[in-house]
Subunit: 340 residues, 2 copies
């Protein structure tokens, strides 16, 4: 019998197919070949991107020249524009704003052909520090409410370039998905006086364990109870923290270790699948009156990692109701047992 | 400057790229070749499907034999199971139900290789009547709260068989997306004492017109103000009605005409793209106390039609915030001007 499972945070229902659970070999991973040439993100091609905003560089090197490990530049084809005042307008009964925002690319390595998982842990830590630095900087811009950091790897996951990179989009509104989490977390806190994510981590590590993928000193990786996608994973800090930018440096190093571990497991278990990951952290400004008072207490930042093994069809699009052919317990066991 | 637009019903924000708006020729439609052979949905192969639940048949023909125009059968690989009592269970802090539901296939024609748009209007009307008949029948099952009718055409839209078919899934909960519409419609009604969809149709047909695609005697097809996808369209009845099953027969005939028209326009304008459509109608049971009293007044059934021209990447998945490269005004103009 399949199961209907409800995400405890946002209340989204998922159909979990428990019979004939799909194993890694059942998925036909769609992968297109990249042209194996250098690109604007490669070392020596710095002039082909807009000028850099941030970089981890060897001492004595000059911005927009070689000598960097991680480099952040504006997206050449941004979804939103950084220049201008934010303006709002009604169009009949509909609301509109001009598309003010920031859209940046975090180039994770100067070397073409290396993926994030191929980098040493201390290099991945530099990528994580770049995420933090850019969010802190953009938070100073009063026009923005949120920065979403995300990574698309593989064409089937929406990447348009092979060279390893993440992106961020700063928006003048808090994304709906994050708002839903804030609302769910607040409701739980109002009832229980505890963080729903902390309670969830406690349950998954101490009570059940079957959906756990990995634990490090400061982080836990698990396949969520109501996983939308096969082999979906969440990485959560064990220490309660609403805001990713308050991450401590030993936690950065440990998160790098965790990312390398779970991305390595994904690569081995699923033959290097395309994937997306996203960082969900607290928004900059209070979403509603009286709410901010507790957001530090009730919310918990985390990373959601979603391999692209299935396509989202009409039913999912129209219902917001996902069908996941691999129970998270099966996925977690396979990932736990995958040696990297 | 791009625009941020808010859907007036559910409050979902969309980034509309207004510069370099993508035209039909800018989309690389992914289309895999189907094996051009007959299949279990073909006339003469009736024994290869589970026994039929409903069919439009020539007089004197016997169920599960040739002689039908439209045929409804249980899905051989259902996402949910029809047999059993609905049971609920808590798993720690998480909620679960057993996967009770119905999953049926509406085979639209006995002829392999014909798409819905290729059928005569009176045949399409029979398909629409099959949708209605199945919803009415399943409504009698007290375990279900909702029936979602949808169609995936093309492998890239999630279809696993070429033979023209729609599907329906009956669920013991009302899908999240529909609930969001019900909440938005109720809020509007509480303030305005009018149906938000009726007001929206009025605005789009009488005030603006630039997002209008087609009008028939009883229906309007438009590209929504905050369209998530390029060339997305909604088909709405001009007469206020919350519940699709109350459609009148002259409206069925007119809806068939409208479907053939807009699907024909899509095929011509976008080189026969893969697409999904979904029917959003009122749920069977009241979603919350006191709510049902007005659902007939505040909700408005409709069809959402989404060509598959772009893939949903990490940002969309993580934020619930879509990026649409084709403004709906551009899409609507192209579709309006497309002759079929």
């Amino acid at each position: 019998m399949p199961e209907l499972r409800k995400d405890p945070v946002i209340g989204r229902w998922v159909i979990i197919s428990t019979e004939r659970a799909k194993k890694p070999s059942d998925f036909k991973v769609v992968r297109e070949e990249w042209k194996a040439s250098s690109c604007a993100f490669c070392e020596g091609h710095e002039s082909e991107t807009p000028p850099e905003i941030y970089a981890v560089r060897s001492e004595g090197t000059v911005p927009n020249t070689p000598g960097w490990d991680v480099r952040v530049v504006p997206n050449k084809y941004p979804a939103l524009r950084i220049e201008g005042e934010l303006s709002r307008e009604g169009v009949g009964m509909c609301a509109m704003m001009n598309g003010i925002g920031a859209h940046e690319v975090i180039i994770e390595t100067p070397e073409h052909g290396k993926d994030l998982v191929d980098l040493p842990e201390d290099h991945i830590a530099q990528v994580i520090r770049a995420y933090r630095q850019r969010i802190v900087d953009l938070r100073g811009d009063k026009r923005f409410k949120y920065v979403l950091v995300f990574k698309n790897q593989g064409q089937n996951a929406g990447a348009s370039l092979q060279h390893a990179h993440s992106q961020l989009i700063a928006t003048p509104i808090t994304p709906k998905r994050v708002k839903e989490e804030l609302v769910g977390a607040k409701e739980h806190y109002d009832h229980q006086h505890s963080c729903i994510f902390c309670d969830y981590i406690e349950q998954e590590t101490k009570v059940f364990g079957e959906r756990l993928v990995a634990e490090t000193a400061h982080f836990v990786a698990l396949s969520p109870f109501a996983a939308r996608f096969p082999f979906e994973m969440w990485i959560l800090p064990q220490r309660h923290s609403a805001d990713f930018t308050y991450i401590q440096d030993d936690e950065v190093v440990d998160l790098a270790k965790m990312l390398k571990l779970v991305l390595g497991k994904l690569r081995v278990a699923l033959d290097d699948p395309p994937f997306n990951y996203l960082l969900h952290t607290a928004p900059f400004r209070r979403p509603r009156a009286g709410y901010w008072a507790t957001i530090e207490e009730d919310y918990h930042w985390h990373i959601e990692l979603m391999p692209r093994l299935t396509s989202v069809a009409g039913f999912e699009r129209g219902s917001g109701f996902y069908i996941n052919p691999t129970p998270p317990e099966v996925a977690a066991q396979i990932l736990r047992e995958t040696e990297v």
